[in-house]
Amino acid sequence: MLVFVVVVLLHFVFDPPRSHGAWQGWVSKPEVGVAILVFFGALLVHAWVGLRDVILDYVQPVAVRATVLALLGFALVALGVWVAGILWRIPA
């Protein structure tokens, strides 16, 4: 994720996308799309681990804890599906 952040940052500094077409063209490159998917996969797994630890620290009652964890898991999966859908809809 660190590498991804640095690479995207460098791209925006040295070759910022100045139009919708240029931006879409960059994202629709296979290597960029795969990198975005891998990044979001890692990001969502990381968000699960991190927020799970936070919830286990502060939410003690078992029923509430289970509910909150389930909601979190559902939300993270939904985010993953959303990102995949965005990439899927880009015209090649």
Partner: protein, 123 residues
């Protein structure tokens, strides 16, 4: 039963720099996670069509948006650097107190510097 006295007045506890770095790591993590849906929404807008892209460019030029961006840059920079520091501690690099304190300062100052650089780049 645990009857040890508990003293949790955060205004009066003098916290070592490592504690501040650690707490900030947790807070920035939560903030960044809450920011993800908004980031995905902006990502979707940027790719939807030309109008949405232009609208987004307009937003990015507005200063309230820039303030939020600088805030997230700080959160991300701090979270990344503090995370690397924790990973190094896990493999026993810089675990001794003197080094741990020094690296905590380095994390806090570097993250603030990166946020200032971002602010400078966006103005």
């Amino acid at each position: 039963m645990d009857r040890r006295p508990v003293f949790f007045n955060l205004m009066q506890i003098q916290m070592p720099v490592g504690a501040l770095t650690s707490i900030a790591h947790r807070v920035t993590g939560i903030v960044l996670a809450l920011g993800v849906p908004f980031g995905v929404y902006l990502f979707e807008l940027s790719l939807r069509d030309v109008e949405a892209f232009e609208q987004l460019v307009e937003w990015v030029r507005a200063w309230p948006f820039k303030v939020v961006v600088v805030g997230f840059v700080w959160a991300l920079a701090h979270h990344l650097l503090a995370g690397v520091r924790h990973l190094l501690s896990d493999i026993d690099v810089g675990s001794r107190l003197l080094h741990a304190r020094r690296s905590a300062w380095i994390v806090n100052v570097s993250a603030a510097t990166i946020a200032l650089l971002a602010a400078g780049a966006l103005v």
